[in-house]
Amino acid sequence: MTLELQKPRPIWQIMFSTHHTDVGLLYLISSLTFLFLGGSLALGIRAELFLPGSQIIADAMTFNRIFTVHGTTLIFLFIIPFASAVGNYYVPIMVRYKDMAYPKLNAIAFWMIPPAGVLIWLGFADFTWYATPPYSIISAPGPAADMWIFGLKILGISSVLGALNFVVTILKCKHPDMSIGQIPLMAWSFLSSSLIIMVAIPTFAAALLMLLTDRLGVSGFFNPAMGGDPISYAHLFWFTFHPEVYVLVIPAIGMMYEIIPRFSRKPIYSYSSGVFAFVMLSIVGFSSWAHHMYATGMSFTEKTVFMVGTLAAVPASAMHVFNFVATMWNARIRFSTPMMWAVGGIALFFSAGAGGVVNSAMPLDFTTHDTYWVVGHFHLFVMGTIAFGSIGYLYYMFPYVTGRMYNETLGKIHFILSFIGTVLVFFTQHVLGLYGMPRRIYDYPPIPEWIAMNQIASVGAMIIGISMAVFLANMIHSAGKGKFADTDDPFGLGGKYYYPFEAKNPSH
């Protein structure tokens, strides 16, 4: 029951195939490549901040370009494509259809990513990953900035196409015997996140066009010197990218929903509440965008409204945590690598969420806005929850994809190192933020506390780096030389898998 359903064949046949597993494989490879590229940039940043003064990065300009591309790469070129990879592999199988609804569209959506990645990486723009005007308009040097804008434009189109494909596949192509209430929760997660993408991304696409024309000087939407308002960009941007945060996290949760019941040898505690929470998140996610802009002189009323909107998203996320805990209750858990990642992911998800709740209180914005607290907070989400869930799921699907088993010991080492590293880096960064260290600074005054905590964080980052090296070695070696996996039940869990992989939809 391997997921690569066709015979071994030349690599170009995989590249130009439109079969969902092949496209999924391409997504997987490209997103992992960008994971390592972006991660190495992160190591560079941490090494630079290890001590005040210039360490390994020549000048501030280089540093600014590096953290910009680091953020852009890991969010747009690692997380989102990874979700699409898993979706491509599993969604058609889960809804028991022979392929994605629009295979060619699917391939197109993937093939938009490499050019976009090339644009972003060649350009190496120097405005932050949210290109705030007027900086991005009047002082960001081109052509890097314009290439970045084009790159993101392409990525936006690609993810909208992908989302469309998922929605149609899940809603229209599921097996007639299955009601929408029977598809696995992971399919639900892809459905809701795809819906978010289809609603949110177009706003950002429009904002990007305006940004470009502003840079060219033919319009002045966001350019104060030409009668525009920079804050309106912030609104457009965050209207897209706050929901986008949920787009990132929802598939990761869905993956945990696959892993945890499987390794607990129990069905999920409450399917309905899981579905409810997903839908809830995707709706409430749109009511909280402006909490990124408390400090830009919003009125008290606006702030209050958006704080309420932000807090409203918490119960939904909390229901997921409850679901996981309740599922593991009275279970017989086998702690293979995927399960370890999933459980670690839950713990970090909760702590990140707690930090977020504290941060959503309006007055605390005075202390934490744009400090390392924020950095620590969202990295705890992105690394601690999303990356953990994704990597766990990668281990989980490894035997099905390659037909071989990864090295369990190395996998566990990978998890333990990453967990320690993550806690070291991001919890320290929370405290660092409380000491008032701003984001995106290339150099900082030699304040003892700052130095100490930056060093802890840098060490943690190095630990994560090592673990990732282990991960890479493990993947490469096991993919080629790993011992053959029993592809019916690679983890020896005994239970049967509740969706038949080769199900064909008789109506097609």
């Binding site: 007027p134 400090a295 309420v308 709740v357 209180a361 605390l364 202390t367």
Partner: protein, 143 residues
């Protein structure tokens, strides 16, 4: 699914919602107090530009990179920017307000002890953002 009833989950959700309400109420009250600018606050016009701060007092005196204030008075900052977004921040006094070109944002504080504090820019503003720093000198009342 699973035919069993969900009452533990509903209790749990209720608790979460109660917590969130509490957080919201606390925050709302605090924000209301913080945002209330005292009537007799002195105005200081803060102008951010790449990559330094300019302060203009009510009596018209201008300072670059340094700000001298007196203990026991309330000061109202009118923060504005000449080029790109900055964020005016005195972390020791929990003062933070973005400097947005074309806008005037206000924030206030009342220093209560003599001392020196860092003023920094918290919003990414380009090449020398990391060094867009100033110093706040809190002094004894002159009169």
């Amino acid at each position: 699914m699973g035919g069993h009833s969900n009452w533990p989950e509903w209790i749990y959700v209720a608790v979460v919602i109660a917590l969130m309400t509490w957080v919201g109420a606390e925050a709302w009250e605090a924000e209301r107090l913080v945002e209330h600018v005292p009537a007799d606050a002195e105005t200081i016009i803060v102008t951010g530009q790449q990559w330094f701060w300019t302060f203009e007092h009510e009596d018209g005196t201008k300072e670059i990179g340094e700000l001298h204030v007196e203990v026991g008075k309330a000061y109202k900052f009118e923060v504005m920017s000449k080029d790109v977004n900055h964020s005016f921040n005195i972390h020791d006094y929990v003062v933070l307000m973005d400097a947005i070109p074309g806008r005037v944002n206000t924030v206030w504080f009342a220093p209560d002890a003599v001392g020196e504090h860092d003023i920094q820019c918290r919003e990414y503003c380009g090449l020398i953002h990391y060094n867009m720093r100033g110093t706040l000198y809190v002094e004894e009342p002159s009169h």
